[in-house]
Each structure stands twice: as structure tokens, then as C-alpha cells.
């Protein structure tokens, strides 16, 4: 393709959400007739970049060009019309419509009188499924489809758009090896037809197998772009994680005490398997792994929000009743959930109410909640955590993300837990508050609290944890001491196929050979 303009060119694209810069300087050049891999850690800005290309978000700055023409999409419809098909990370299907209707929604083949030609539409769906080599009933409702099948519907939709640029954000995470191979065949077919494909994946073996070019992103910025044949997977991992783990992580050394949380053989069909670990008093244990590896699910099961099929959870020597969060709280567990707006806060309620919400029973005398006690509790904890709120009776919605997170922390610390589970404690909050949260966790551990920390940000795990457990596809595959836990060690344990030789049988191809 000599002299042809690249199908997609991004330069210096930036996007912030509030105070958080999700993308600082996105740069990506995709030539027609190539498959371009985009890799990076969670939070590196890949999905934000994809959403800008797909018209979901609008960029704050930078250049986006399609075939040399500058574009600025105001919505997904415009991007689609310009020939950009995007398969987002979370498939968005319409449960009440049939699979066929989902694929062709908004561009159904029309017959006479502009009525939908259902026969042609169904035939089209059948053709797409044949091309993808899957066996899906085009007339069944999308409701109840597995994630993999939903993903296939999304892929079929994207292919049928006949777009000049196809962007796939982690399309293979849920697919079986056979489905992955067929998807790759389709992607190669598109490449050979002169289309451009952007492929995002954590599986570096797939990147090596499928792609021509690879771009690495980190912290919302472009790191490097190379031909796939010029870089080794290990080099890619190094570029994805390599950075300064500076004073952001003020870890205070502490001496671990007794085991306060013991998880034995926890099992949940289809989610996680044979999960066993201990957390001792005064210790911060990091739970690392890729998104979707099952870390949050393990935490929820330990806390009793979700049920599990086998195994047990022991807190302070007592076995917890499964599926009973109230018992878990009484036993001294606290869980600061992943999504503070949805699961952690009553956003319309006041700061004070939020802080005291779990401790109500303790504060009440004869069943009546004493306002003074509530206010005192809220004041104490808000002060200790330096919550910056106008007043304790201000609604939680009016605060920044960082302060909201502090309120959620205060709420759980007010229950006087012995084990604190934090899921993504600093997601979406600014750097300054991040450091404050880290300092707090560190000092709490020094006082003897056992902390189990889930984080997708590798530096956070490495900077804060005394011990790191790496979860991959629902299993704990590695346990690393603070000294052993290098970015490379964690990433290669978390990523299937990152380090050749270390994990034989970890690639889809190898599994199939064995099967």
C-alpha cells in the first residue's frame, strides 16, 4: 500500500474524566491491510482510546484521522456510518430481541414498502454464523446467551457492517480455542481484503500469532510501535509495566501476627477453583491478575455476598456461614467494593449517614439511633481520613471520587474490622488522594489490621503488598513475597503465554494438542 494514507491515525489524543486523565497522549497509526495489536496494562488507556475511535467518548485534544480525513464523532452512529466497527469489551445486547435482530438492528434489510425482510435477515445471520463456524439459533432471544456467545453475536454484527476499520477490545477473553481460531481466520480474511483491524488482547501469544504490528501503551501514553517480529513477549511485558514506583506507595514495614483470615479450597463452578490462602494481622496481601480473572468474585464470596459450591472461610478461628454478609461483618470482615457509586455509597445520603450506615446497630440504644452518637462517629472517622466535605450533612454526591472513596473506607473502618478487603481502592481517583489512601492502608496494617487488596494497577500491588497472590482464570497460580514480586514475575504469571517455557500448556494451541 504505497503512499496510501493510514486507515486510522491518532496523534496526541487526550481524554479526562473529571480530574482523572484516562488518556494523556494516545498515538496509533493503523495501515490498511494490517492487523494492529494494542497492548498495555489495565488502566493504560486502551479502552478509552477505543471508545474515542468508536464515537462513545469525545476527545479533549489531539488528532483523529480516518483515511487521512480528520474526524470528530459526536456519537456511535456517526462512527458506524464512517465505517468504524467496534466490538467493546462488555457486549451490549438486547435481551428481548432475537439474535438476528440484535445483529441487524437499525440496518435491517428492507423489502417493499420499507418493511423488514425477515427472511433475508435470517439468511444473513445464518451466513455470518457459518463464516464464523458457530452453531447459534438465529431465532432465539439474546437473553441468557453466555458471554462467549454474546461476544460472537457482537463479532457477527461487526463483520456484517463491512467496515474499513474493525476494532476488537479483548474479543477472545471468553472464547474457547476453536472459536478463537475461527475469529482469527475471519480477521485475517478482513486483512487480506485490505481492511484494517485493531486487536486488543492480554494474551501475548495471540498477538504474536495474529498481528503484524504492535503498539504498547502505558499510563495513557504511547510507549512504542514495532513490527511483531521485532519484539519478544518479554520485552513487551517490560514496556507495559516498566516505570517508577515512587513515593506513591508509602509502605510502612510491619510484623505480621496471627492468621486472621483463612480461605480453604473455595470453589465456584465456572468462576473460581480451589482458592486457598491466609491473611495475617498486620499484613497487606495483594490479589493481582487481569480483569475477569475472578479476583472480585473471590472477594465477594469470602465476604458472603456470593455463594460458593465448596470450601470454607475462617475468620479468627470461626467458620463463616456461606452467603451471609451480616455474619461476615459480625465476625470482623469488611469489604470496600469495586464500584463505590453502585455498591459502596448511598450517594444521595449525607456523609454522616453513609459513615454510620453499617454501624447503626451498635450506635442504637433500645433500637433508636442516637443522632449524637452518629454524628460523633462520622466526625471521628472523617477527621482521621481527612474527608474534605463541606459538612457532614452534605450529600455524598457532591464530593470528588477520592473523597467518596474515603467515606466508604470510613464507613467500614467504623465497624472495627479485623480484616479489611479492598477492591480497586484507588480506581478513578486523583494521584494525591491515591497516596493518602495508600498511607492510610499502610498505617492501618501497621496497627494490626489484616488487609486483602485487589488491584488491577500493578505498581499499587507491588508498592503496597507484603505478599502477592496472582489469580489467573479463577485460580491462584503464584504466591510471591514482596522481594520476589517484580512486575515481570507478576505479569508473566497473570498473562497466559507471556513467558515461553515457564507455563507450557498455557496457550490455546497447546491445550488442543493435548486434548
Amino acid at each position: 500500500m504505497p503512499n496510501a494514507a493510514p486507515t486510522l491515525r491518532l496523534e496526541g489524543v487526550a481524554k479526562s474524566f473529571g480530574a482523572v486523565a484516562a488518556l494523556r497522549s494516545g498515538t496509533l497509526v493503523v495501515q490498511p491491510g494490517t492487523i494492529h495489536a494494542l497492548v498495555g496494562e489495565n488502566g493504560a488507556g486502551k479502552s478509552t482510546l477505543v471508545k474515542i475511535v468508536g464515537g462513545v467518548h469525545r476527545r479533549d485534544a489531539g488528532v483523529v484521522e480516518l483515511d487521512g480525513e480528520p474526524v470528530d464523532f459526536s456519537g456511535p452512529a456517526e462512527a458506524k456510518a464512517a465505517g468504524v466497527a467496534v466490538i467493546h469489551q462488555e457486549p451490549a445486547s438486547f435481551p428481548d430481541l432475537t439474535v438476528t435482530e440484535n445483529i441487524f438492528l437499525g440496518r435491517e434489510p428492507l423489502g417493499s414498502l420499507r418493511r423488514i425482510d425477515r427472511r433475508a435477515m435470517r439468511a444473513g445471520a445464518r451466513d455470518l454464523f457459518r463464516e464464523l463456524g458457530v452453531d447459534l439459533d438465529p431465532d432465539r432471544p439474546a437473553e441468557g446467551l453466555s458471554i462467549a456467545d454474546q461476544q460472537i453475536v457482537e463479532i457477527a454484527k461487526a463483520i456484517s457492517l463491512d467496515a474499513r476499520l474493525l476494532v476488537m477490545d479483548e474479543p477472545t477473553a471468553a472464547l474457547s480455542a476453536v472459536e478463537v481460531r475461527r475469529l482469527f481466520a475471519v480477521a485475517r480474511g478482513l486483512r487480506d481484503a485490505g481492511r484494517a483491524v485493531v486487536f486488543i488482547s492480554h494474551r501475548l501469544d495471540e498477538v504474536a500469532d495474529l498481528c503484524d504490528t504492535v503498539t504498547v501503551m502505558r499510563d495513557g501514553e504511547h510507549v512504542s510501535t514495532d513490527a511483531v517480529t521485532d519484539v519478544t513477549p518479554d520485552e513487551l511485558v517490560r514496556r507495559m509495566v516498566g516505570r517508577d514506583v515512587a513515593e506513591l506507595y508509602p509502605k510502612v514495614p510491619s510484623t505480621p501476627g496471627e492468621v486472621v483470615l483463612r480461605v480453604e479450597g473455595l470453589e465456584s463452578t465456572g468462576t473460581f477453583h480451589d482458592v486457598s490462602f491466609d491473611v495475617r494481622a498486620g499484613e497487606i496481601v495483594g490479589l493481582a491478575g487481569l480483569v475477569g480473572a475472578g479476583r472480585s468474585e473471590i472477594a465477594r464470596a469470602v465476604f458472603g455476598v456470593d455463594r460458593y459450591d465448596a470450601g470454607r472461610v475462617v475468620v479468627g478461628g470461626r467458620v463463616l456461614r456461606p452467603g451471609d454478609p451480616a455474619a461476615a461483618i459480625a465476625a470482623g470482615l469488611a469489604l470496600v467494593p469495586e464500584d463505590r457509586r453502585l455498591q459502596g455509597l448511598v450517594t444521595e445520603s449525607s456523609v454522616g449517614r453513609n459513615v454510620s450506615s453499617v454501624s447503626r446497630r451498635r450506635l442504637a440504644r433500645l433500637g433508636i439511633l442516637l443522632p449524637d452518637a452518629e454524628a460523633r462517629l462520622a466526625r471521628d472517622w472523617s477527621g482521621r481520613l481527612e474527608v474534605k466535605a463541606g459538612a457532614l450533612d452534605a450529600p455524598a454526591t457532591t464530593m470528588s471520587g477520592g473523597n467518596q472513596q474515603k467515606v466508604v473506607l470510613a464507613k467500614w473502618l467504623a465497624t472495627g474490622p479485623t480484616v479489611l478487603i479492598v477492591d480497586e481502592p484507588t480506581r478513578g481517583i486523583d494521584v494525591g488522594t491515591k497516596a493518602e489512601v495508600h498511607r492510610l492502608l499502610s498505617s492501618l496494617a501497621a496497627e494490626g489490621l489484616a488487609v486483602l487488596m485487589i488491584s488491577s494497577e500493578l505498581p499499587e500491588v507491588l508498592g503496597m503488598a507484603d505478599r502477592v497472590l496472582v489469580v489467573r482464570e479463577g485460580r491462584i497460580v503464584a504466591e510471591l513475597d514482596r522481594a520476589e514480586a517484580t512486575p515481570e514475575a507478576v505479569m508473566s504469571a497473570a498473562t497466559p503465554g507471556a513467558t515461553p517455557g515457564a507455563t507450557p500448556g498455557a496457550t490455546p494451541g497447546a491445550t488442543e494438542g493435548a486434548a
Binding site: G55, V56, G75, P76, A77, E78, A79, K80, H88, A92, S93, F94, P95, D96, L97, T98, E101, L105, G106, E108, L110, R114, R115, I116, G133, V134, D135, L136, R140, P141, E143, G144, L145, S146, D149, A174, L175, S176, A177, V178, H273, R472, E473, G474, R475, V477, A478, A493, P496, A502, T503, P504, G505, A506, P508, A510, T511, E512, A514, A515
Partner: protein, 351 residues
């Protein structure tokens, strides 16, 4: 899916036939007299038109509680136009009422689509506002049969080939809207929006435009229903149509339109309207006391929602079971679960 829904509509139709059959057995005149036949078809006509409009709104996961007030306002407008300008053609008056209804519907739709406030709250507000307009305008006046042309009032009772004109109007409305909902892109998008509003936005569907359209249609049909109300009853006071919104929502729910949007048909809603009103008329005939008549209608609505729940649960279970067993063929060499095999292998090495 269409099969299940068809069955649902067939079920309501069957219930309707049973009600008619039983009542006719008790008192043959309920069906087998000229008056009985006419009432059977004529009574539900207005509610059917309203239910068709409401169904479209509910399918988008919204609701329009202001339709009773819109009906009242347009019914009064109809009478008032005839009073002020007796020579106006009926078509013009009808058009004026429909346009007014459309505008009132657009107000609802605009607030819901742009301000993103729940329709339940907005239309509860406009229910009072629109009624207030009628009250202010009409005061204690009322339009009587004498104020309207005979030909117009004749439409309320006239029959063509044994079928009342208003029933024909309702049938045409039902056919046209039903055809649109099933065969057009726009119609399918209304279902998609109700099924998952966030996904609809992510797909780039024109969500706002469709919502505006749905509320405008609901308003237009309420306007048409206002004209039909004036023709049918001959007197219009400022309280015309009060409480009808709840009857309509009841009819739509009984007709199998899911209150959370995304599924159901306008035909089902129309059948639901017929069933509700026919039961209303049948219960006194078979000698059921006043109190129980209302209770029966209530039980019907609760029963319909319970049935929806049961059917949805059953379907979800069936689909989940299908997912576990997987498709029957075509999975050549699928390595077990795929995801399960891999980490198992590698664990032996790392551990």
C-alpha cells in the same frame, strides 16, 4: 420468542371468549341481541385506542400517565370547536384534536428524552397540569349533545355492516400501529430501547428521536380518543377521562406488555383492554356484587404480572440450561470448557 408471545395473545383472546361465553349462557342477550353485539364491540373502542398508544410507550420502558387528561382536554376542545364554529367539517375538528394531543405528548416526550427524568414522575405532573388547563378553560361549563352536530354524534352509534364506526376506527389504529411495530426499523428500535436503554445508546440508535415519537404517538391517539369520547357520550365536562390512565395501564399489563419494556405487542394490549371492559360489563350480568367486580379486575392485573414473572423465570431457566449443555453439534474438538483446562495444566508447573 414470537411463538411465546403469540401464545400469550391467544391466551387473552381465549379468556375473552370464555367470559363472553359464560355470560351469554347466563343471559343470552349479552351477545345475542343487536344491542348486546353492538355494546360488545363499541364499549372497548376508546380504551383500545388508548391502550395501543400506551403499549408503544411502555415498550420503550416508559409510561404515560397523562393520557386521561389529554383525552379530557381534547374531548372538550372537540365540543368547544363545534360550539364556536358549527360549520367546521368533522375532519378538521378531529385533526385539531389529534394535533393537540400530539403536542401534549411531545411535551412529555421532550422532558423524558432530554431531561432524563423518569416518565412516571413527569407524566404524573402533566396529568395534573393538563387537567388544570381543562378545568380553567371549561370551568363548570359542559358541552351537551345539543352543542354538537348530529352527524358527528351519529358516528358514536352508527354501524357499518353491523360494526360500529368507532370500533372500525380502533381496529384501523391497531392494525396500522401493529404493522409499524412489527415490520419497520423504527418499531424494532423501540423494542431495543426498552430492552436495554444503555446498549441502545452505545449502538448509536436515535434514542431521543424514538422516545419523542413514542410519546407523540401516545398523545395523538389520546387526542383521537378524545374525539371518540365526545362522539360516543355526547356530553363533555371538565372531568372527562379522569382515572382512565390507570385503566389503560392495567389493560396494557393484562395484555402482556412487560412494564419494564422490551416485550409485548399492541395487539395484546388491545385484547387486554377488551378483556377488562368486557369483564366489567359481564360481572353484574352474572350477579357478582359491586365490591367483587373491582376486586376481580385487580386480581386480573396482579395475575397477569405474576404470570409474566413465572414465564420469564421459566424462560431464563431454560436458556441457562441450554447454555450449560451447549449447542448440540458443530462444537468439533472444543477442548472441554477451554478456560478450565488451561490453568489446570499450568498450575502443576508453577505450584
Amino acid at each position: 420468542m414470537t411463538n411465546v408471545l403469540r401464545r400469550r395473545e391467544a391466551g387473552i383472546a381465549l379468556a375473552l371468549l370464555i367470559v363472553i361465553g359464560v355470560t351469554t349462557a347466563v343471559q343470552p342477550g349479552f351477545l345475542l341481541s343487536t344491542g348486546g353485539w353492538r355494546d360488545l364491540l363499541l364499549t372497548p373502542a376508546i380504551l383500545v385506542v388508548l391502550a395501543v398508544g400506551q403499549a408503544v410507550v411502555v415498550i420503550t420502558r416508559n409510561v404515560d400517565l397523562s393520557v386521561g387528561s389529554v383525552l379530557g382536554l381534547t374531548a372538550y376542545l372537540t365540543g368547544r370547536l363545534f360550539l364556536e364554529a358549527p360549520d367546521l367539517p368533522i375532519v378538521v375538528v378531529t385533526l385539531a384534536a389529534v394535533v393537540t394531543g400530539t403536542l401534549l405528548g411531545l411535551v412529555n416526550g421532550a422532558i423524558v428524552a432530554f431531561a432524563r427524568v423518569p416518565a412516571l414522575v413527569i407524566t404524573l405532573g402533566t396529568l395534573y397540569v393538563y387537567r388544570g388547563v381543562t378545568l380553567t378553560w371549561a370551568g363548570s361549563d359542559r358541552i351537551d349533545a345539543g352543542d354538537m352536530p348530529r352527524t358527528f354524534l351519529g358516528l358514536g352509534t352508527r354501524q357499518v355492516l353491523g360494526i360500529p364506526v368507532l370500533t372500525i376506527v380502533a381496529a384501523v389504529v391497531l392494525a396500522a400501529v401493529g404493522y409499524y411495530m412489527y415490520t419497520s426499523r423504527g418499531g424494532r428500535q423501540l423494542y431495543a430501547i426498552g430492552s436495554d436503554p444503555d446498549a441502545a445508546a452505545l449502538q448509536g440508535l436515535p434514542v431521543r428521536r424514538r422516545l419523542l415519537g413514542a410519546f407523540a404517538l401516545g398523545g395523538a391517539l389520546a387526542g383521537l380518543a378524545g374525539v371518540m369520547f365526545a362522539a360516543r357520550y355526547g356530553t363533555v365536562s371538565s372531568g372527562a377521562g379522569t382515572g382512565m390512565e390507570l385503566q389503560v395501564v392495567g389493560a396494557v399489563v393484562v395484555g402482556g406488555v412487560a412494564i419494564f419494556g422490551g416485550s409485548g405487542t399492541v395487539a395484546g394490549a388491545a385484547l387486554g383492554a377488551m378483556l377488562l371492559l368486557t369483564i366489567n360489563r359481564a360481572l353484574p350480568v352474572v350477579g357478582i356484587p359491586d365490591f367483587w367486580q373491582r376486586a376481580v379486575v385487580g386480581a386480573l392485573i396482579i395475575g397477569a404480572i405474576a404470570l409474566d414473572r413465572v414465564l420469564a423465570n421459566r424462560r431464563a431457566r431454560r436458556l441457562a440450561a441450554e447454555r450449560d449443555t451447549g449447542p448440540t453439534d458443530g462444537a468439533d474438538g472444543r477442548p472441554g470448557d477451554g478456560a478450565d483446562g488451561r490453568p489446570g495444566d499450568s498450575e502443576d508447573v508453577t505450584a
